[in-house]
Structure formats: structure tokens, C-alpha cells
Symmetry: C2
Subunit: 452 residues, 2 copies
């Protein structure tokens, strides 16, 4: 049931933009324009009583006068007009509404928000928002939000922050990973994390679910659904309000009850959720989940041209519970034949500043299938040309995850990083960030084992 409703929203065949405007300064113009710019193929109906045509489309004075069926209504009108218009939408059998308009509980208009809640109860219409930054599904070009993000990919986002919703999409775009379904949830008077996670769980384009959460309405249902979905797909959560000061700030942002952090922590663990501690770690982690298979366990070989990077990686790995097994004797023999004498055969394996792409290739060819290691962190700490090609080649030979780091590489660096992105290979700017991301893959892999 839930999923059907949400597919009417995210996979709407027709959209009405209520409050579409001809004035480029207005949000009602921008939302309509973004939907068109993103290449949405469904029917689009601008609703505006004072216009005949907006951005080349015929405009309608009200939703009632739209000729065809409407799956989704996007609201960009002043708050006071929202309830009556929502009721009109429900009558017209519109399935879902994304209410971008603000001016409800977040500014003290509790009554107005309660009115919306009653309408939702009385009718079949379902709502994302109000007071939100909208939704995006680039697989259909349904960009009912801002900025315009066109790259379709495997990440789905449920965020109580519009800014994080935008930032995560922009980073995924820059990395050429792309997103599947994204929602900025605002005051979330109706559709909550459990609904979105359930829908994303069934969505075949979604490989990983990213969540920024301040609170949930129905904790029990959330745990139940998260637990079910996390068996199939990783759910990565950044929780705002984990400290006392943070929790107070949550209360005035989305009026969520942040609750005691220990309770959330326990619920997340129970549900198989991967909890992260910063926005950056959230993105770095979903990037790894998007592009890589899961490691069998926590055993990693670090290969580097930069001794310092190997060392800080080893430090971070130990702190995050990864294991760095020594290089087994049989591998040492083969490595000795291929590597210069001065390379010390340890883990981290430091190929030194003299390393070049072929040396990485030779090394990886020897170690990649060995059972001692279930993942690899490969650090290019010098201007090494051909780095991305080597990792691409190796990624085809193994299902083990390979995380790359590229830093300190001068002009060549930007070219190589662009290549990594084009080839859908995860590359990180510092060693610690790659190790943290890997440790979250390991956590999830471990969790999956505990439940089977």
C-alpha cells in the first residue's frame, strides 16, 4: 500500500505545479523550470489562476480544471491556501502531494498544520512536507526541488534537512554516481522515514539508502521496517541532535523529539543501520556502498606509494576495527620477483615514491586473489599516471572491494580523479576517509552475517 502511494509520487506520470509562476524570481517558477530542465517526460500542468501559459505550457486556474489524471501535486503557494487546495486535490483523486510551501508548525502555525493532518486522515492523499525542499527522481527527470540534479544512480536519500538533501546529491553528481529517489522531508506530517525506507527498499534502482534524521514519529514501526530492509540494502544514518545542545536545536528545527541518544543508538544497532558521525562520513560511506561489493570480513591490505599515508591508514584502520594481516610467505616470494629490492614486504605495503602504475598492477595481480585479504585500500600519493586504469582492470578481476586514495599528485591528480569517477571507481582525497568508508562496509557485512 505504502509503496504504491510512494511510487505515485516518485514515479508520477503527471505532475501539477500548484503556484507555478511566470516570475523568474519566484520559487513557483524555479520548480516548474527545474522539472522541465531535468527532462521530465510525463504530463506537467502549471496551476495559476492568473496565467494562461507558463514556460510554454498551458496553465490552469485550478487543479479541478486540469483535463487528465494527476498523480502528484507540488505545492508552492502561501501556507494559508494549502489546506483548501489539498482538499481539492484529494477530490480530484490526486495521489500524492509534495508541499514545499513553508509557514506551518515551524513558524508556530500549529493549527494550519493540524488542518493538513485532518485532510490526510479524511482522504486518501499522502503528503511529503510541508516546509520541505521537495523530491527528485533523475531516473525520470522528476526534479521537483532545487538544485537540478540529473545524474541517475543508486543512492536514495531521506533527509530532514533540505541542505543535506541538496549537498549529498551534488556530491554524488560530481562523483558521477548519481541518485535514485531523494526526498527532503520538512515537517513530515505524513510520510516518514519508515515509509521512505520501505519504498526505497523495494525500488530496484536503489542500492543504498542515505538518511539524515532528527527524529521519528513511530519508533517501533521504524525499527521493524529498517530491520527488514537492511537485510537487503544498507541504510546509512546520520542522526542530528545526539548531544544535549544538538537535541535542543532539533526541537526548534523540525520539532522532532530527539530523545535520548542511547535509545536511538540501540534502535539503529537492532535494525542493522550503519550509523555515521558526520555529513562527510555519510557521503563517503554511501559512495563506497554505491560502487563496491561488500568485503567478506575486516582483513585489508593497504598498498601505497606514500609511507606517511600508509601509516595514518594503519592508525585509522586499527581504531575502526579493521585487521591488517601480514603478507603470507607464498605471496612474498612472488612479490620479491616483481618488486624492487628496497620494497619492504609488510602491510601497509609501501611501494615508495618511485612507484608507477605498472608496479601497482604487478602487485595487485599477485595479491588480489589471495584469501588473506578481503579488501584493498590503494593509495596513490604521487603524480602516478594510469592509476585509474590499473584499478579499473583489477576491479574487473575481483569482486573484493578496492578503495583508492589519490593525493599530493599535482596536475595529473585532477585528470586521474576524473578518470576514476568516469570508471565508477571510488576515490578519496585522504587516507583516513577511505578507511572510514571501508570500515562501514565491513560493519554492514558483519551485521548481515549475524542475521543469517
Amino acid at each position: 500500500m505504502e509503496q504504491k502511494v510512494l511510487s505515485h509520487i516518485f514515479e508520477a506520470k503527471s505532475v501539477a505545479v500548484i503556484g507555478a509562476s511566470r516570475n523568474p524570481e519566484k520559487l513557483g517558477y524555479k520548480i516548474l523550470k527545474n522539472i522541465l530542465d531535468a527532462g521530465y517526460k510525463g504530463k506537467v500542468y502549471p496551476i495559476n489562476p492568473k496565467a494562461d501559459e507558463i514556460l510554454g505550457l498551458k496553465a490552469y486556474p485550478s487543479i479541478s480544471e486540469v483535463p487528465g489524471d494527476v498523480d502528484l501535486a507540488v505545492f508552492v503557494i502561501p501556507a494559508k491556501f494549502v489546506p483548501s487546495t489539498l482538499r481539492e486535490c484529494a477530490k480530484r483523486n490526486v495521489k500524492g502531494a509534495v508541499i514545499i510551501s513553508g509557514g506551518f508548525a515551524e513558524v508556530g502555525n500549529i493549527e494550519l498544520e493540524n488542518e493538513l493532518k485532518s485532510i490526510i486522515k479524511e482522504t486518501n492523499i499522502r503528503v511529503i512536507g510541508p516546509n520541505c525542499q521537495g523530491i527528485n527522481n533523475p531516473h525520470l527527470g522528476l526534479n521537483a526541488s532545487w538544485p537540478v540534479i540529473k545524474s541517475a544512480g543508486p543512492i536514495s536519500i531521506a533527509s530532514q534537512s533540505g541542505t543535506f538533501f541538496a549537498a549529498l546529491q551534488m556530491w554524488a553528481d560530481e562523483d558521477k554516481i548519481g541518485v535514485s529517489k531523494c526526498a527532503a522531508m520538512g515537517n513530515k506530517i505524513d510520510i516518514d522515514f519508515d515509509d521512505l525506507i520501505e519504498y526505497y527498499g523495494e525500488d530496484e534502482n536503489t542500492k543504498v539508502i542515505a538518511v539524515y534524521m532528527e527524529g521519528v514519529r513511530d519508533g517501533r514501526r521504524f525499527v521493524k521496517i529498517a530491520r527488514e530492509i537492511s537485510k537487503k540494502k544498507p541504510i546509512v544514518v546520520l542522526k542530528g541532535g545526539r548531544t544535549e545542545i544538538g537535541a535542543k536545536a532539533v526541537a526548534s528545527h523540525t520539532r522532532s523529539l530527539a530523545g535520548r541518544d542511547e535509545i536511538f543508538d540501540a534502535a539503529f544497532k537492532q535494525s542493522g543501520i550503519i550509523r555515521v558521525e558526520s555529513l562527510e562520513e555519510l557521503y563517503d560511506t554511501i559512495k563506497a556502498f554505491s560502487l563496491l561489493n561488500l568485503p567478506k570480513d575486516n582483513r585489508v591490505l593497504i598498498i601505497t606509494s606514500s609511507g606517511g599515508s600508509g601509516i595514518v591508514s594503519a592508525d585509522e584502520a586499527e581504531l575502526r576495527g579493521l585487521s591488517l594481516p601480514d603478507i603470507p610467505e607464498e605471496l612474498k616470494q612472488s612479490l620479491k620477483e616483481k618488486l624492487p629490492d628496497y620494497v619492504i614486504l609488510r602491510n601497509p605495503l609501501d611501494l615508495t615514491g618511485n612507484a608507477y602504475a605498472d608496479l601497482y598492477r604487478d602487485t595487485l595481480n599477485i595479491v588480489i586473489h589471495n584469501d588473506t585479504y578481503s579488501s584493498f585500500v590503494v593509495i596513490f600519493g604521487d603524480p602516478i599516471e594510469g592509476a585509474a586504469d590499473v584499478i579499473n582492470e583489477m576491479s574487473k578481476k575481483t569482486s573484493k572491494p578496492i578503495l583508492s586514495v589519490y593525493l599530493g599528485g599535482g596536475e595529473i591528480q585532477q585528470i586521474e580523479i576524473e578518470k576514476f569517477r568516469r570508471l565508477k571507481l571510488p576515490v578519496y582525497p585522504t587516507p583516513e576517509r577511505a578507511i572510514k568508508a571501508l570500515s562501514n562496509l565491513v560493519r554492514y557485512s558483519k551485521y548481515l552475517k549475524t542475521i543469517t
Copy 2:
């Protein structure tokens, strides 16, 4: 004494590149070319017995045949030739040597390295390296290393990793901050952290000292000097090898004795050193020190257009010991007059997604001189045009540090971030990174109070 020697190296009036080459594939070509490309104005003598001219400069068969005085010799020759040539340099009264050449203790050639040590003892010549990535002083264009970094600024670097030496410089360049004196120290058989910190401490272009350290030879002298210098300038240290696995990796990288981490930690605290936990935090912190004054204490006002960003900032602030005092009544009155009704007057102060540059300006004008706050974190979580201009204006009105965050801002974001950089205003990509950097300013400010 030390300082004089180091000024002969970093501020050399004449440089010999021993092993300069005409072959663009060789490091001996690249180093010479980088020195010329960086615009070095002193005398440059390529040394190569097989060439008359390299890159338009007259070449000399040996250091003995160079006509003028030579302050600095940069070595890019095979290890086995280094000792005899170093002796020749000493005889010729060359003051310092940067030995980029590898092939010493790091590959097991302990004897060869010991030979260098004896020469250093017997003569007056002082050495950076061997097995290092060189030095850079963009204030003079003395780029005896790679990549070429020309932006001169307030950061000095002492790094046992060549890659970190390069990466930090590149980031400082991208941010238009620039560096003062940088050294990649390699095996550091002679010049150690204490020497560099002492010299950087006296260098008037240096405002902050960044250190990546795996170990020190003379801990007592290090503490003594660091303690002295940290009274005047912040020293920010990332220590590699803080875990057991990391420490083992250190042993094979630079053969430093990593020692027990608690001992380093205590020594750092005693010395007023700001210890950081990742390469990213190292850079974020020196960036803040470079561009800002110190806060009087830990009291910060967070101003944001993004509720979520305010909340994760508050969380991070509490974890890092910052204090977020409530907005005092007298300010609330003035703010009420300027801000929309729906803005809740709390700390973090959430101007909401409707915020625009003038709203930030009005807000900052009211709060900036109030004694309740000694620092500000200003978050632009939307495409806010004019953000950098507002912060620039405010930075001129107050000596309190203002750290900005810009994220989720679509196309406008890159333009604004470039403006922040041009105006020398620190801007961070996520809220947590800004808060961490601020907390390190606070730690240093607090330390300075304990010693006066």
C-alpha cells in the same frame, strides 16, 4: 646558530643542483626546471659533468668549479655518489644540502647513511634528508621539490611524508592561502623537527607551523623548543603511528621509534602543541590559524540558513568543548526588529531556507560586538549570493574569528567559494569541519592563557 644555517638553506642566495639533467624524464631535470619555473631570483648552478648547458644555464662538471659562492646544494644523484660530493660541498663552504636522493637506510644502506652522518659531524654542512621530497620557499621562488607551488603565504610545513608535504601545499594553494617554508624531511639524519620549528618560529612570514611527525631524535630538545615557539605561534601536529599497527609501519617507513603514544601525547600537551587526528583536520586547522585571529574563549554563535547544519554543528561543538550561549535579551530585542517573525531566536540561530545575504548582514551587525560571543560559525546552506561579501565586511569590523561553511548551494556555490578564497576568508565544505577547526583555535587560545 641553527636559524642562520636554516636561513642559508631556505633563503639561499645561490643554489647548485647536483645531478641536474637535460633529460625531461629525470628528477634532476624536474628539480632544476621547478626552481626556474617558480621564479627563483638567486644564482642557479646546474652540476653535471656531461653537459655544458641545461635549460639555458651554464652547467659545471663539479661543485668545485662553480665560480661564485653557493649557499645550498640540492642533491639528485645516485646514493653512492652522495658522500664524496657532500664532502666536496663542505670543502667549497656550501652551507646546506637538501638530499633528495634515496637509497640510504630506508633500503637498508645503513653504512652509506652513517657515512653522511660522519661528514656532517666533521664539517659545518647541514643536511635536510636524504630520501626526501625537498624544500619550498615560494616567497623566494625556491621550489627545490615537486609539484611547483608558487603561492606565498603564512603556513610553514615540516613533514616526514613527502606526499603530505605536497598535499598540504596544494590545498593551501587552491585556497589561495599559500605557504612560507616547507620541508619534506625524509630520513632526517641531521635537521630535525626541533631545528625547523625553531627556524619557522623566527621566520616573520610564518604564522602557523604544520607538522606531520613519525618520531623525533631528541625528545627533550623538541619539547624545549616547541614550548618556546608555541608561545608565539601555533604548532599543529599530526602524529603517525599512534596505534600498534601504525607504530610498526613507522618503523619501516622512516625507522623512527614511534614510542608509546601516551608519551607523545603528554609531550605535545606540555609543549602547547595542538594535536590533530587526521590529515584533513591538520589542513582545516592550519587554514583557520592562517586566516583568523584567536578567539578569546570557547563561546560561539552559530548562524545558519540550514537547520540540519545548525544541529550537527551544535553536536560537534558540544563534543569538542565549545559553548553555545543563548542569545541575551538585549540582542533578542534588536534581532526581532530586523528578522522575520518565524526566526526563532536561539543558538544555533536558524535564519531558515528563506535567508539571503542581507539577513545575514543585519544579524551579524547586531551580534558581532556583543560580549556574549567570541567567535562565529556562519553557515550558508543554500545558494546565497553575496555570502562572501557579507563575511568580508564583518571581518573588517571585528577581530573575532568568523568561520564560514558553504554547502548545498548549486551553481552559485563555486562562485561564492572562489570569492571567499580571494578575500582570504576561511570557508569549509561541511559544518563539522568548521567546528573542529574552531575548536583547535580555542584550544590554543586556552593554552596561551595558562602560560601567562
